[in-house]
Symmetry: C2
Subunit: 467 residues, 2 copies
């Protein structure tokens, strides 16, 4: 730990003050030699996994209950060495893992446990601080705020927003709707029928009625539908990058309606907000500067391990009103600092800002842009193969890294094709419904995905098509 | 990854089926050599930190804004090597850390980033799976359910409860109150005036009125106060181990009232539930078998890194009713398995069960008991020193590992003493108010805390008493 004392602010307690004490030297109950061996074994597995995950079957091939049944039904009486824990993990748990960090995982929104993100999570668990107050670990608050500010700059958000990190977009939406409810109790929450279902869940949780509104032919929330309902609304949630189809709602137009009616506007850019790191995709956040709150999930398409959901607001006082409290077992409020526990539902706060900061530092703006552009390129390439092949159809727009498509034929045939792909172990896709038809869905998002991986899934699709 | 294919269930795609394809071999964009160097550097820091954290000042000594100002105001254009990220972490961020993993951190509820917990978090970030559905990574659901069952056995909960892991007790309470609201919309949430403020926050979030009820002379929720209000209630929250004073509410008696009135009973055993691993402390969970939901936080006193909050319920159908949904972009519901997204607010789910499983495996029942008993012994020893020293006073009971105490004199003098202790860098305590008087609070909970550490804080208290 050499050098750390040099950079500490403030002074050490004067040695002379302590001379009367019995010297009780701390002896940590920590076996450094053993830990170094164990951590080496764990890290060797990690490096090996990241190098070879592409050779594993993507989807787990286990029957329900099999993993659980392979482990003892009762906890051990005596503790086991870490070797044994790691062996159980490899032999009994790993076969039940669907490998989201596999370069041919194309389901849902593909994500990445990146090198800096993984190593930062290691540091976070080692420090194990609770950043509920500034004073409980000042760097946890300040690095979180800095990383939020960095990301805001990268995607072109206005300066001066209040930013903090939640676990998931579900929680971010809950926070936004709680703030909105404070201003308009009992009002309706409006969102597109293609909004993520976490919006409806959040409305249900905070006790506001939810109304799903129709979309246009490109699956974007219809402005006229919002206009018709705005008077009774507490909040409108627009989406940049819907889960089914990555459609981008017309947030800027809807912002005008919200402003006139005094209704909270929450922009759920959990997926497509990351694209705004690239200037040519910044339109994905058009209107964000007029939203009351915005969420982007770096754990989706910004190479940050789960969980990391970034929320900005220009009205932090409304979040504060919904969530602040001053219990007696905490120090008197220090109004010169920000206590992030006051801006969301949870009191305990993991140091999530560190991994976001590490990821942004390690990739830099150019590294992030390069990966985002490559993923968009791969998705467009895949779409072009679909489009030029008779019997296949691209469904809807594909502006980012997700392509919805289907084979000529029934929903059942397309579902069966999806099952064959996933059962092959070579790739993993998911599906959805657009215009009441089942479609397959390819989501590029893993940092290690290459053109070869996308080509391979297309080959598989062609080969398993009528298998 | 040798050996993994052997234990996979199901079959690999037949090689012969693939012979017509152009062979596109996946080339991972992953620099294994570099990662091994970087991970070695990170892990060397981790081991060094865990070995020497006891030599660092416990509380950060930085002025507000200093950490943030030490880092660039804008994100880097080009990515930085991990070395540079780690150097910034050590030199600029670490001085702003208050070391919760320090053996002389005695504030709030002291916790532990233990060896198996830290290494499991590394594995979790590496896999980076989303366990929202059973099918999105079967082992994530099954290991979480198994670990919940193991912990239930360790603390003596009834068999057959539904268990899952949330991030914090705040979220667990939100889930419980949402379920309660479904049965009794508009009813009041009742809890002791010493309940954690996350209960009031949760009631506010789900839109139920909250009433803080009086306590008896030992800071336990008064049964007669609950009886007087039960008819208009939606839920009662009892606490085992209040945050101020680790008081244990009479849950069994209150359960009778709740049963007769049909009111949801949530037991917040976030802290003291862990004590029930020891038979002689199992009374801390008396009445738990009659609660509708129970929360215990292994990230408090069970050596698991944040965040890990365990919720059990005997009425999972009520949580399901509050939180389930079947969006089109997910597979059709498979009723033979459990999808844990349906039992709490968040859709995205980190594989938190793995670290709980690893911690329980590594310590075993005996290892956990030994540590809990040692922490209780240390707290009682500390209390005995206070009690036998004129001018000092223990305030309230101290059944577990937390002792509230004060020096003869004014609240201001006691607050000043707390500040001197924390400014010394040698130990960290927090404070609270009991019977309208300010008291200091020593919480033992770090796995590496020894008798020497507790002796040291007592020496400090005596020395800094009138400094």
């Amino acid at each position: 730990m050499e050098g750390e004392k040099d950079v500490m602010d403030g002074e050490m307690a004067d040695e002379s003050e302590q001379k009367d004490f019995v010297s009780v030297k701390h002896k940590p109950a920590f076996d450094g030699e053993q830990f170094r061996r164990d951590s080496e074994a764990a890290m060797a597995w990690v490096a090996d996994y990241l190098e070879h995950v592409g050779d594993l079957p993507v989807a787990a091939r286990v029957a329900p209950g099999k993993v659980r049944a392979s482990l003892p039904a009762a906890p051990p009486e005596q503790g086991e060495p870490f070797d044994a824990v790691l062996a159980d993990f490899r032999e009994k748990i790993l076969p039940g893992i669907t490998h989201w960090n596999h370069p041919r995982f194309f389901g849902y929104f593909a994500n990445t446990g990146s090198e800096p993100g993984i190593l930062a999570e290691l540091l976070v668990a080692t420090l194990n601080v609770n950043g509920m107050l500034w004073s409980t670990s000042p760097a946890a608050t300040e690095v979180e705020e800095l990383a939020m500010d960095w990301l805001g700059q990268l995607v072109g958000l206005p300066e001066g927003l209040h930013g903090h990190v939640e676990d998931t977009a579900s929680t971010a939406t809950i926070a936004a709707l709680a703030a909105a409810r404070g201003l308009r109790p009992g009002g309706t929450v409006l969102a597109s029928e293609h909004a993520n279902f976490s919006v409806e869940k959040a409305a249900r949780l905070v006790g506001l009625p939810f109304r799903a509104l129709p979309v246009d032919e490109e699956f974007r929330l219809r402005v006229d539908a919002v206009a018709a309902e705005i008077d009774g609304a507490a909040a409108v949630v627009t989406t940049s990058g819907t889960t089914s189809n990555t459609a981008v709602d017309p947030t800027a137009e809807i912002a005008g309606l919200c402003e006139r009616a005094g209704v909270w506007l929450h922009l759920d850019a959990a997926y497509a907000g990351s694209a705004a790191v690239c200037e040519e995709l910044r339109w994905a956040l058009a209107g964000a500067e007029r939203a009351d709150s915005i969420v982007i999930n770096p754990h989706k398409w910004l190479f940050t391990p789960m969980d990391c959901s970034c929320v900005w607001t220009r009205r932090p006082e409304e979040l504060f009103r919904a969530f602040s409290a001053d219990p007696e077992y905490m120090p008197d409020r220090d109004t010169t600092v920000t206590d992030l526990k006051d801006y969301g539902p949870a009191l305990g706060r993991r140091f999530r800002g560190l991994k976001l900061w590490a990821v942004l530092s390690w990739y830099g703006r150019e590294g992030l842009q390069e990966l985002i552009r490559e993923h968009v390129r791969l998705a467009q390439l895949f779409a072009s193969w679909i489009e030029e092949t008779p019997g296949w159809e691209v469904v809807g727009r594909h502006d980012f890294s997700v392509v919805c498509f289907r084979r000529e034929g029934s929903d059942e045939e397309n579902q069966a094709l999806l099952q064959r792909i996933n059962a092959s172990g070579e790739a993993f896709l998911s599906g959805t419904r657009l215009n009441a038809r089942f479609v397959l869905r390819l989501a590029v998002g893993n940092a290690r995905t290459t053109e070869g991986d996308v080509a391979r899934v297309w080959e598989l699709l062609c080969s398993l098509d009528r298998a």
